[in-house]
């Protein structure tokens, strides 16, 4: 039997198991059915809910404009799946080709898709983390609990960490009229994702909206009262703040522990897979029956020196899931690479922030349109003489253009005239990332085509 016949049999009567019933898992399942997969489909999820949308949980849901229970993801089509919800996967047996669940059940597969995503990094001290008033924000339940707390008569909130989630929580608190202190270990909010120059804008924005922002400090201890309720927080600069709520926003951890011992290349940085979403084993050999997509997947991207990138982005989850689903039921030559350009957005303090590309690779930036002072601009990041990323504050409509610039390896700094380019911004400045982490060499590569299905890689000989 040829490999192609196998694919036909698989499409008709194979067993596909998806571990992780969130955005990526759902979109993969829908794509499988759309592409004619008629075999059995099992969706395994550790939460009790069918797939729901997370971006509103730190924004509209915290403002009471959307109820967390109303964020269920719309269905593109019926997926005719067997749902195993509220039960996590415990381990993976690659020899027997089955997933074992925490309740002892085993689920056999012909093809496995791993979309287990991430969870919120908990507060490092378990007893303090258990205090009433200490929150993380990742799930629908987290959001509902935090909303009830914020609207239940508290006065001061401490947000630990000024990344995107932390900043959005702080913004929501201010809209509720609550006093909010933000403690950030770095020199400015958003500095890890966008660098110090844009971080300074975020810094100003927060202070302008009445946030008590404290940078360059960390929270050393959370202290509870007699009834196990949070009362105050101790900071590394020796200061003490009385707070009733602390929201721990220290980033995410990838849900890969259940794969320990399975022999797949999974660890704290994600599950390594090739550009076609096929998972590597620990020897760097690609598996042909295990795929990964979404926040938990780490795959090489040609525009970024083939670095293995794990992207915690909504759009990435969707596109990677679609590519993974396509490749799972395709013969080799029909498989497609996942070459999505990283893109994410945030909404805080009345400003829409959007980013495309990988800003943290960009050692320099120019403000291509608008000005930092007006908090309305597009900043373009450069890497080895080409455009590598762009970030907009209230200018998202332009980012499609810069996406094209990144994909086509356009030169940096951009020298053309454009609308709203102010003279003060013509010189590139250091983007001021705390740890630039610049790789040393790499070809210039462009992506071609209008849609992911057409996207291919073209090497451009370097003339520089």
């Amino acid at each position: 039997m040829s490999a192609d016949t196998d694919v036909e049999v698989l499409r008709r009567q194979g067993r596909i198991v998806v571990v992780g019933a969130s955005l990526a898992g759902l979109r993969a399942a829908e794509t499988l059915r759309e592409k004619g997969f008629t075999g059995s489909l099992t969706m395994i999820g550790d939460e009790l809910y069918e797939p729901y949308d997370r971006p509103p949980l730190s924004k509209q849901a915290l403002l009471g404009r959307a109820r967390p229970e109303d964020t269920a993801l719309p269905r593109r089509r019926d997926i005719d799946a067997e749902w195993r919800l509220g039960v996590a996967a415990a381990d993976l047996d690659r020899d027997a080709k089955q997933v074992r669940l925490v309740n002892g059940d085993t689920v056999p597969y012909d093809r496995l898709l791993i979309t287990t995503g991430t969870r919120a990094r908990p507060w490092f001290h378990p007893e303090e983390a258990a205090l009433d008033g200490v929150f993380v924000l990742r799930t629908r339940d987290d959001s509902a609990r935090l909303y009830r707390k914020l609207t239940g008569g508290v006065r001061r909130v401490l947000v630990i960490g000024a990344g995107f989630t932390g900043s959005e929580v702080a913004s929501a608190c201010r809209e509720h009229g609550l006093e909010v202190t933000v403690a950030e270990r770095g020199p400015a909010p958003l500095v890890g994702a966008l660098g110090g120059v844009i971080g300074a804008v975020a810094d100003r924005l927060q202070r302008k909206h009445g946030v008590d922002l404290r940078c360059g400090v960390s929270v050393t201890a959370l202290e509870g009262g007699d009834v196990g309720r949070l009362r105050r927080a101790h900071l590394s600069d020796g200061s003490v703040i009385d707070v009733e709520v602390a929201v721990v926003s220290l980033g995410a951890m990838r849900n890969t522990e259940w794969l320990a011992g399975s022999g797949v290349a999974a660890g704290p940085r994600g599950i390594a897979c090739d550009a076609g979403c096929r998972v590597f084993d620990v020897n760097g050999i690609v598996t042909d029956d295990i795929y990964a997509a979404g926040d938990v997947a780490r795959s090489p991207h040609p525009l970024f020196d083939y670095q293995f990138l794990a992207l915690e982005h909504w759009g990435n989850a969707v596109e990677q899931a679609e590519i993974a689903a396509h490749n799972m039921i395709c013969a080799g030559p029909d498989r497609r690479p996942h070459l999505w350009l990283p893109m994410f957005w945030s909404s805080q303090f009345g400003v829409n922030i959007k980013s495309v590309g990988v800003p943290s690779l960009g050692g320099q930036l120019v403000v291509a349109q608008g000005t930092l002072a007006e908090e309305r601009f597009v900043a373009v990041y450069g890497y080895r003489g080409r455009v590598i990323a762009a970030v907009s504050f209230d200018g998202a409509k332009w980012l499609g253009f810069y996406e094209q610039q990144i994909a086509s390896g356009a030169p940096f700094p951009p020298e053309y005239r454009s609308v709203d380019r102010r003279s003060e911004t013509l010189q590139p400045i250091e983007s001021a990332f705390p740890d630039p982490h610049l790789p040393t060499h790499g070809p210039t590569i462009t992506l071609t085509g209008h849609s992911p299905s057409e996207r291919r890689v073209t090497f451009v000989p370097s003339h520089a």
């Binding site: 291509a368 349109q369 608008g370 007006e374 309305r376 597009v378 409509k397 332009w398 499609g400 253009f401 094209q404 053309y416 005239r417 454009s418 609308v419 709203d420 380019r421 209008h450």
Partner: protein, 402 residues
């Protein structure tokens, strides 16, 4: 056909009823240079990418001397350019201010609140069909509704319509890049001045006695000149565009009886039908007033800095590389991301209002009126090549239901 003649043919009235073969010809070369240095861009992805390109300017003062022709008459009216002819940051400031009383997040219910009154207008207009065996869809239906709507939106007295109708018509014609009327620019300038003066008085009154509508809401936030220019733009844009959209939808449905029959059984089809008409017969056919601020490479051609650029929306909407079987009117079309309202930062400001009007007007028209036939097909078209639509749409009708 030589390369220099195609824009002249597009503007030539002889092609008004069916410009689509010309657009197909145009798409053979996605970016086409005319003899006078104007560039015509006609394919979907190229139009979309240029419309979102910060190197393309809507401010016609960026054109080299001698190119001022389309878009806007020379400014001696004492008015600043309206925001459609400005770039950021001026554009963003004006549009942002104007959006506050118009839509979300500050005024989420403003447009929705107009529905009741506009539905009443639709009913009254259709009631007047009673006893007739022939109507002109333009004069008797498609025109009065948008005019009432824009009057309500701005807070302009509806009974002044006969006065500003004439000015609005002249200004709409001035968008036409080659109208063939030598006095055109002068007339347009005069019309803008007169309409401006009319609105300026009105705005002054609103400042003293605020009432409902955007003019009153904006009066405290804008300079008199900016508000006047904005009011002129919105009043004109509220005139010809939605009229054409309603008329084009009616005409298209009458030409596709199979779709019409389905629609009469299933009113929910209104949404895809209206979107498909916006693709298939867009009321704004092309945008001839943009200018390249730098050399721009598009589809293998370099548009040199300073060149006037026409973005051919109607041609892009029928690009076979983007839409399957694009010359077919197909309300079942999936993925209908048309350019009927343009795209990018100059995306039609009035689109939400236009959709409300279309969704009130079209289903009710076909629910109540029993049409027998088009009396003239094609109907007589307006002279305008940019804001293309029938001047009249006479149809025979057989009756009216309540």
């Amino acid at each position: 056909m030589t390369s220099g003649t195609i824009s002249a043919q597009i503007t030539d009235y002889a092609h008004r009823a069916d410009p689509y073969p010309l657009y197909a010809e145009l798409r053979k070369q996605p970016v086409r240079r005319e003899d006078d240095g104007t560039y015509l861009v006609s394919t979907y992805y190229e139009v979309r990418s240029l419309a979102n390109d910060p190197r393309l300017s809507n401010d016609t003062s960026n054109r080299p001397p001698g190119y001022a022709r389309p878009g806007q008459p020379a400014e001696e009216t004492g008015l600043p350019p309206s925001f459609i002819f400005t770039d950021p940051p001026v554009h963003d400031r004006l549009r942002g201010t104007i959006n506050r009383p118009f839509g979300p997040p500050h005024s989420p219910r403003f447009l929705d609140g107009l529905r009741g009154e506009l539905a009443k207008v639709v009913t009254e207009l259709l009631d007047a069909f009673e006893g007739k065996d022939q109507v002109d869809v333009v004069e008797d239906f498609a025109y009065p509704l948008p005019v009432t709507a824009i009057c309500r939106v701005l807070g302009v007295p509806r009974e002044d319509e006969p006065r500003f109708h004439v000015w609005a018509d002249v200004l709409a014609s001035s968008l036409d890049p080659r109208s063939g009327d030598d006095d055109g620019p002068e007339k347009a300038q005069r019309a803008r001045q007169e309409l401006g003066a009319y609105l300026s008085d009105l705005i002054e009154t609103k400042r003293r006695h605020p009432g409902p509508g955007m003019l009153s809401a904006l009066a405290p936030d804008m300079t008199p000149a900016d508000l006047e220019a904005t009011a002129v733009l919105l009043l004109v844009a509220g005139h010809e565009t939605t009229v054409n959209a309603i008329t084009n939808t009616t005409l298209t449905l009458l030409r596709h009886p199979d779709v019409l029959e389905r629609f009469q059984k299933d009113p929910d089809l209104a949404v895809p039908i209206i979107e498909e008409v916006l693709r298939y017969e867009p009321p704004v056919q092309f945008v001839p007033w943009t200018t390249a601020l730098a050399d721009i490479d598009v589809a293998g051609t370099t548009i040199p800095k300073g060149s006037p650029v026409w973005l051919m929306l109607a041609a892009a909407n029928r690009d076979p590389r983007r839409f399957e079987d694009p010359d077919r009117f197909d309300p079942d079309r999936k993925d209908n991301e048309h350019l009927g309202f343009y795209t990018g930062i100059h995306y039609c400001f009035g689109a939400p209002l236009a959709r409300i009007e279309l969704h009130l007007a079209v289903p009710e028209l076909f629910r109540r009126v029993k049409f027998s036939r088009l009396i003239e097909d094609p109907p007589p078209y307006r002279a305008n090549a940019v804001l293309r639509g029938p001047r009249q749409l006479p149809v025979a009708i057989e009756g009216l239901t309540a």
